[in-house]
């Protein structure tokens, strides 16, 4: 193919590529926003959009500062010795832009503080200018990191379950009483009841047994459905297909009541059993379709050789069913890892990741930095599993209807 033809082909396919790439961007951007935000400081998240980290690094508030303040105070804020704006104590005096506005309205040297240009008389508009100036003053004094700087502290805050307004590490260093009341400022804080660290361990403790146990029982039952002959086999299996669709909501309350009466509420054993029971119909269905699809001749030949069903199950069906077990295992694992409702109801005193995230949500949106870090922590394991075993995951999807 000559280059001209190739170029021609590329152009004719351009709309196609464009459509695919636009769609991929639409799918990626929301997660990217979460990811970027999880590395930004609280201040930065509140003041600028996460996408600004990709734009040219202009420090927030620099333009406003240069317009209003730089002519007298200098671009570094140090020009007037007794009003050194780079001094952290000055920036700290003004916790909010309204404080700065009130201060600027006071006369200075028998005249108005700001002459050219003047601030808008409307207080809201004036504050909209002063707020970034304050940010810039903080940046000048080096007290608070500038908005371009990225940090890992959100992840630590999420792990320990920090709920203050600064961050866990700096609070510990400065011995802030409110923080010391909740934390010991030692590594044991990583297992704090309200943190994502503890939730991570709880989730692992839920997910691994809840994946293995149903697969074991399902393999046995699937073998029976595929290679044993008994009355009502078809009928029982059709029932199983129907059971797959029973919504979770249908079984929650009776089981919760049962658990209270036998003392299994908020116990790992209780949630393992629940996930086993609820996962079995789909697991048996999928495994039976796979084991039943294995060639009959090999079963006949081992049986002719005198092998028992138990031997045939252990040495033949189980090893050959490994691909199905892998698909099922990944499916069940991800479903349990991401589950919220079951854990919320059956494991209320041992929060898992999803439940802990909802505990961290601030309805006013004041802690996006920690919340995004927490959400990303919960994504790590499923993402690794997903990308490492994508083939099995897709195969699992294709080999059966999806359970409820």
């Amino acid at each position: 193919m000559n280059p001209l033809n190739r170029l021609n082909k590329l152009f004719s396919k351009l709309p196609l590529h464009l459509a695919i790439i636009i769609m991929c961007i639409l799918w990626l951007v929301p997660t990217l926003g979460l990811f970027v935000t999880s590395f930004r400081t609280r201040q930065a998240v509140r003041e600028t959009g996460w996408w600004t980290v990709f734009s040219k690094q202009t420090v927030a508030g620099q333009a406003e500062y240069n317009t209003y303040c730089a002519s007298c105070h200098g671009t570094d804020g140090k020009k007037i010795a007794n009003a050194n704006l780079a001094d952290p104590t000055i920036a700290n005096q003004f916790t909010r832009s309204i404080n700065l506005l009130l201060d600027l309205q006071k006369p200075i040297n028998n005249g108005p503080h700001l002459v050219d240009p003047q601030l808008p008389t409307n207080a809201t508009k004036a504050q909209a200018i002063l707020s970034p100036i304050l940010t810039y003053m903080r940046a000048l004094s080096g007290h608070v990191e500038t908005s371009g700087k990225l940090t890992l502290s959100n992840y630590l805050d999420a792990l320990v379950g920090y709920k203050g307004t600064a961050n866990y590490l700096s609070d510990c260093q400065q011995k802030i009483p409110g923080t010391l009341a909740v934390f010991n400022c030692i590594s044991a804080d990583l297992l704090n009841q309200a943190g994502m660290g503890r939730a991570f361990l709880n989730t692992i403790a839920v997910a691994i047994p809840s994946t293995i146990i149903p697969i074991l029982f399902a393999a046995l039952a699937a073998y029976a459905f595929a290679w044993l002959d008994f009355k009502g086999r078809q009928w029982l299996f059709a029932l199983l297909v129907g059971l797959q669709i029973i919504p979770l909501q249908m079984v929650l309350v009776p089981i919760a009541r049962l658990y209270v009466s036998v003392g299994l509420q908020s116990s790992f054993l209780g949630i393992w059993l629940f996930h086993t029971g609820f996962g079995l119909p789909y697991a048996i269905y999928l495994m039976r379709n796979f084991i039943g699809g294995l060639p009959r001749e090999i079963f006949e030949s081992v049986y002719l050789d005198g092998a028992s069903h138990w031997t045939a199950f252990r040495t033949l069906a189980l090893p050959l069913a490994m691909p199905a077990i892998a698909s099922l295992g990944i499916f069940q694992f991800l479903w349990i890892w991401n589950d919220f409702l079951v854990a919320k109801i059956f494991l209320s005193t041992k929060p898992v990741l999803t439940v802990q995230i909802t505990n961290l949500i601030d309805p006013l949106g004041g802690n996006w930095n920690i919340l995004t870090g927490a959400a990303f922590l919960s994504f790590i394991i499923p993402m690794v599993v997903f990308f490492a075993f994508q083939k099995y995951f897709a195969r699992g999807l294709l080999s059966g209807s999806v359970k409820g």
């Binding site: 959009g49 039952a221 002959d229 909501q249 909802t358 919960s378 209807s401």
Partner: protein, 303 residues
């Protein structure tokens, strides 16, 4: 059929099936029956639902909880919203999935592109809720918009929009999250079906001069229709049970209530009503259940 040689007595099936059947009996069948019974009981689940009746209000006696589930304004909103999800979000997701499967099939970076669209399936609905709460975030009272969508609106000169609390848009905002989450699922299954189409038929149609549009509608679509039906039924079930997204993003407030969230909200305070809603939910899924069992039997007959 099981080979003759492998027939056995009654003990073996019992040993292999017993544990699984016992667990399913305790964790699926018993609670389902119990839930139906509780749906006729009062808020504590100890006496008939009729005790909640008062003389000056309409009452359905022992079906009182069902009166709540079928006639109260909040439940009517929930039913309307679930219907909206069914009518808009299900076809939307299937269409997006099918479109992407068709497009990606024609480029060399297909598996990468498909992974990107499929990825949301790996994360929790709660996590997705956080992602989208941040996308939709509105900064009220001064300050820059830090939610991407409102930042774009403001940049274009428009007013910011309260995507999650303005009842004109919020149901659609939530459905967009649903499409984002599930399009990858539809795409994966439909893509496999498209790849399974016999190439000779497609080639023959192309040779006969069919353009891509006609090729899709008159050749490919009819051939993948059974798969489209399977994907649609699965999505119908998912949407009937939609809960986590609504719970984490709006809590069912501002007119975004759905059946499953109402059920969850009442689970502690009013067991009877909550269970009546659960029964309503399963009644709505029964047609799909029957459809699936029929399909299964048809497949079995083909084996």
């Amino acid at each position: 059929m099981v080979p003759k040689i492998m027939k056995q007595g009654w003990l073996a099936p019992l040993l292999y099936l017993g544990p699984a059947l016992l667990i399913m009996l305790v964790f699926v069948i018993y609670p389902t029956v119990n839930t139906v019974i509780l749906s006729f009981m009062d808020r504590t689940g100890t006496q008939s639902a009729a005790v909640d009746c008062s003389s000056d209000a309409p009452c359905w006696g022992v079906f009182e909880n069902y009166r709540y589930a079928l006639t109260t304004p909040i439940m009517l909103t929930a039913l309307r919203n679930n219907a909206l999800w069914l009518l808009l979000m299900v076809p939307g997701t299937v269409a997006v999935g099918l479109l992407f499967a068709l497009l990606a099939d024609r480029v060399r970076y297909e598996s990468l592109a498909k992974s990107i669209v499929f990825m949301p399936m790996a994360i929790s609905f709660i996590g997705a809720g956080v992602i989208w709460r941040f996308m939709y975030y509105i900064q009220t009272g001064g300050g820059a918009q830090i939610g991407l969508l409102n930042a774009i609106l403001v940049k274009l000169g428009s007013q910011p929009v309260a995507f999650l609390s303005d009842s004109r848009f919020n149901n659609f905002s939530l459905m967009v999250v649903g499409v984002w989450l599930w399009a990858g699922f539809c795409m994966t299954i439909l893509s496999a079906a498209l790849k399974g189409l016999p190439t000779e038929v497609l080639e023959a149609a192309r040779v006969d001069g069919a353009n891509e549009w006609n090729l899709f509608w008159s050749v490919m679509f009819p051939m993948v229709l059974p798969t489209v039906v399977v994907v649609t039924t699965t999505m119908v079930i998912n949407v009937l049970k939609i809960f986590d997204i609504v719970f984490v993003m709006t809590g069912g407030n501002y007119g975004t209530e759905v059946i499953a969230n109402r059920m969850f909200q009442l689970i502690v305070t009013d067991t009877g009503k909550s269970m009546a809603i659960a029964v309503l939910l399963i009644i709505l899924t029964i047609p799909v259940m029957i459809f699936n069992v029929r399909r299964f039997r048809a497949e079995e007959a083909m084996r």
